[in-house]
Symmetry: C2
Subunit: 443 residues, 2 copies
Amino acid sequence: MEGLTKIDDLGKPRVVIVGGGFGGLELAKTLAEAPVQVVLIDRQNYHTFQPLLYQVATAGLDEGDIVSPFRKILAPQPNFYFRLAEVTSIDTTEQVVETTIGKVRYDFLVVATGAEPNYFGDAAMAKNSIAIKSVEEALELRNSILTNFEQALQLGDHEAINSLLDFVIVGGGPTGVEIAGALSELRTHVFPKDYRELDFKEMDIHVVQSGPVLLKGMSANASAKSLEYLQELGVQVWLETRVKSYDGYTVTLSTGQQLIARTLIWAAGVTGAPIQGLRADCLVPGNRYLVDGYSRIHGYENVFAIGDIALMKTAAYPDGHPMVAQPALQQGRRLGQNISRQLNGQLMETFEYHDKGAMATIGRNHAVADIKLFGREYHLDGFIAWLAWSFIHVISLVGFRNRLAVFFTWGWDYFTHDKGLRYIIGKTKAPLVEQDMEEKAIV
Amino acid sequence: MEGLTKIDDLGKPRVVIVGGGFGGLELAKTLAEAPVQVVLIDRQNYHTFQPLLYQVATAGLDEGDIVSPFRKILAPQPNFYFRLAEVTSIDTTEQVVETTIGKVRYDFLVVATGAEPNYFGDAAMAKNSIAIKSVEEALELRNSILTNFEQALQLGDHEAINSLLDFVIVGGGPTGVEIAGALSELRTHVFPKDYRELDFKEMDIHVVQSGPVLLKGMSANASAKSLEYLQELGVQVWLETRVKSYDGYTVTLSTGQQLIARTLIWAAGVTGAPIQGLRADCLVPGNRYLVDGYSRIHGYENVFAIGDIALMKTAAYPDGHPMVAQPALQQGRRLGQNISRQLNGQLMETFEYHDKGAMATIGRNHAVADIKLFGREYHLDGFIAWLAWSFIHVISLVGFRNRLAVFFTWGWDYFTHDKGLRYIIGKTKAPLVEQDMEEKAIV
């Protein structure tokens, strides 16, 4: 066939995985011993440990400590091939995916493209806010926070200074809560030493949550404690409030109130990142692919979807599984096993989600955790939950080196009350406009 | 005075330092106890440990481990102020520097802007090559190297593949030699595992040196051994050869020979980075400011220059000091002491350079070092020089945390034969043009 991209043909069925998040990576690993060729296609050459992106954004961790190059992780796996490319469409008749570097033939296709921020059609919000779904966005947020303070030093007008010092976080899920906690850590322990000329009593952190509780989907204890911890840290939490509009400066809330902030962090909803070319009826609201219990996309025999992009309705989860790491990981593992079974002439097994619980950390020494063990649920909070959160996140990182590096960094920062990665390298969101800088005070 | 930038006035003489490299940072630290206000202005908010930039470029070190935010280093120093800005000109009559964020008044002005790559007026070279003078350039080089290999996988044509696999380094000084060694380490130990589909016998590394020896200025032993080590590693060294032109693909040498390479690393000469506004007659060829033994720029009483931007002719160094870290550091310290002396009504002391020697590493276990101790010079090479190089570089890093992190990373990589930071984040030089990618082989 003409125009196919150059991948050594192993003469075995080829499994093409689009996206190397938790689900795609686990699937590739599970297929290590299977009689297949595994081709992973991703826009990045590395896997990102998304749950800790917020720490990259708040100068707590180096991006190098939470990403792992695919080739490094899977170098020892002989049937693994990687291609750095973006998939633009799927042709299920020819069984090829079109990519930015050419066509790739498949026998089994697995869509694991994850989710992207959902701005609900608000173009101004998409343009003016910062999300934290990728390393590049996390670094852009870090650069923007630091640049804000550098610029605030130059201004005389009280409102102008406040617009740079205040932060609005939209969304009271784990990411929103965790970034609010991290920002308030910086406000208490780090920034006052760096910027002695600024008054950090002026730095406000707002969390705007549409529903009545934080951490919706976790236990009532987790919701209540996370609110208590944030309020103790001086974070202003707006429950049952939505952001109506944001122009890069003024945040208008559904209550009619207005907040002034040059930085709005969008941690509200996500939407699937589907690919062109599949039948329209397999895409459900939220831009996710409807899949059966074997992760097969509705209407296809050899096209699958796992993780955030997949909606699997089961008896226990009639609305689908939570869009977090564990369902993606478990679906990837089960699908890998099922592909092997199918090639061995065995029947596939339906997916069943083993919920291990959920957790979120809120600044130093405080976290909430709902842990499910042996059919029982335990609700932890405070220091013990924070220790559990730290332990689970360190051991979940990909690669021993990253685990050691994060453990070392956290230990160091814990005892020094520091977050050392306060350098501005690369892109910054919304640099201050020229006329603002004209407003210069006299020595 | 109107339009001055907002800096709290301590009511003390103000020392404005432009540039926070080795010289500027050391000067700021030396003035910690002096009855002055210290204002450091830099385009970046961090100090860069330039001698290890080449390791950032070759995926051996994380940029976070070799940079230190100025505010973090100098937070405990009450008389220290930092401004993130670029200085555009100097007005010695009004005693102000013009910056991108407004004017800053000075009593003492110290220019410590360092050097930038010298392309000797070759605009095509400036556009098509990559230098390694900043973190952003080092990361761009790393991204480009990795992207080259990803793209080479897609090509069928032998010359096209070779153009991506081959690297030409112009300049046989420490940077050129060290990056050639690091690239050959990657060729031997790392890339063959990552890119099994490529034949690394095809990867050529060239070092082009205009003079008859490598590491000019070091001992004959260092020059000979570094050549021997590079040749053992399979690096092709072109002595007494210049690059006449480079169009991004074809490198034409002064011998008439041509090399094909999409990546040319420019480690050949540097030129000072002067600022507008000083008298023309204080700028000497090489764009450096001529200074007296007190680092005063020729013709001025209170305007100084230190480090690479300064040319100080002394009896022992009639052509000036080497443009490396040590003279800058020592000039910064001496100038700090002299400013204190002057304010105390004491006479200033002339600068005298204490040469501690020079060293360069060439891949794993091999280095050369000329060490000057108690008036004698010792020439080390091989493993012992490599240990000395590693030790000196670790202890010279700014901040205990960076020292520990680099020590850990080097130890880890030494025993695993790995360089783990092989992710592509941010800018890449010269992406492959569209028509190249059309040339796709069939599975």
